[in-house]
Amino acid sequence: MNARDTILQALRTNRPAPEQYPLPPVVTLGNLDASVERFVASLKLLGGDVMERQGDETLDAAIARRFPDARNVCSAVPETNGTMRAETLKTPQDAQDVDIAVVRAAFGIAETGSIFLSEAQLPLNSLAHLAQHIVILLSPGEITANMHTAYQTRPEFHTAHYGVLMSGPSATADIQGVLIRGAQGVRSLSVWFT
């Protein structure tokens, strides 16, 4: 017998009686507040930022104000062109010199301040991780309450090949327990509501 069949056979022989362990129904528990306020509070707890509009400031102006030293702003959204379009990146490594990636999230989760990105939003998956900083466009109408509602209602989990929930910037506490934001992935994550 090959490895696959050997393993499956052993599991069939050894498992506890299946009828004693029925599948529990899907649950929706906890706080079901899907407000922008809850999302923002959760986002900040995990080290994410909200880019506040000054007057009728454009996205370009807000990015320039937030990141005065940025040279390569790579946009995957129609709201800005940045200095380069994400569609022009050919290989995953091409994103290595990007200072700021600008992308739109499919949705956000109020409980954790997470935003969802997939290949539908990212011309290159690596763009979201090789960029030094990321600016996320999020529609306030696309916020779901918590992890239960996200997994039950968002179709993206059933369609995307690559789907990441980012909750603030990359982080580590592996050296003597000191929390460091900006470990290996993006150094900061900023949300622009639009």
């Binding site: 052993a10 995953p92 789907g163 506490a173 327990g177 000191v178």
Partner: protein, 468 residues
Amino acid sequence: MSNRPVNHARAAEKFLEDAPHLQFHDERLWDMRQKRDDQMHMLPEWQELRTEASRIKEHTLARLPEYLERFEENAKKNGIHVHWARDGAEHNRIVGEILQAHNARSLIKSKSMVTEECDMRPYLEKRGVTVTETDLGERIQQLDDQLPSHIVVPAVHKLTSDVARIFAKDYKTDPDIRDPHLLAEAQRQAARPVILHADAGMTGGNFVVAETGTFVVCTNEGNADLSATVPNLHIATIGIERLVPRMADLGVFIRLLSRSALGSPITQYTTHFRGPQKGGEMHVVFVDNGRSARLGMEDFWTSLKCIRCGACMNTCPVYRRSGGLSYGAVYSGPIGAIIDPTFNERKYSTLPYASTLNGSCTNVCPVKINIHEQLYKWRRVLVQHHEMPFVKREIMHMAGKLMGQPKLYRAAISATETALGTLPRFALYNWLNPWGKHRENPHPVKQTFHAWYKANRTDKASKTEDSR
């Protein structure tokens, strides 16, 4: 590999001698436990989540072959190659062959306990593949040639000065750096070029969804996403027990995982892989390595519910004061002590004794594994199989005789009280009495309970007492 029983007690003793490391280790893990408690108190539905998680996992384990087949079918439809490995050697061979077919010489990987189980790195390195750990803690451990000492925070037993010393050697940084930010930045700068030029990337998998053919990877640093999206070849090594039936089940598990592990509401990255990226190739290697056999162990199969959060380690007084490396095994702490003996009963026969049986591990477990009861049951199994250290066996033998005969027991108790008060220290604090290490023996009492009772008993009680 040596088959000799791990001397956990002696390794722990060494760990206890180093006060600064011990104190940091103990406090850091307890801090994680307290942050976990804070998160728990914020969710009134916490216990319901645990019950739900436990029931979903038990159901899945009882139908594991069907769910594995469903995952395989869906994953293949989405272009994922699915492989099966009976043990570590088979896993390593499969990974080696995939890499060879792509002429891949460099592999970047995120943290995966299963690859540690398989001892994969030396295997691949012998075949000319450079393996680079990209998780900061795991990289520190790789450079220091040590196993991870904790399943979530692999280098938690090290201080900043230790990391500075290790990085100075390999990254040529200043050995006197004491700012963790500078060391983390050094890791980022050293890892980037390796990531950009890697031929292949490897991750583990925290959850596997049968319904959609998805596997989920939870990390904080972003290194798993870099490993999976920069090279065009992605291999995921996953234990066969990691399945859940439905996408909706992830709601329960993702809510519990990081809250239990680090006390944060969610990991910074929760990534769902359902197929290769454009132009890429994706492989899943399912590893059994003793799991299917464990499913047949009536008292121990529920340990397969484990989601590897490490909460039981953080709360365990023995783990916090002995360090993960003292267990001499891939998995340490309470969960390690109940699964390691399934890999090698003799070698890990001492680990179920590395516990006070206080039950704290069971109380914090997000999937309700009865860890402390399994520790106790393992002791029984090991005693039946004669895997008991000589001193412990003899003492238990004497204790058994003593406890079985009230008169003898009472005489011994009163003699002990006298002894505690009169014997010289060398007779009380020696290798035969581990309770005399790092703590003082109890003060002798003037009168035993039985003597007091005899003096104060009523006549009515005395009759029945004497007739015994």
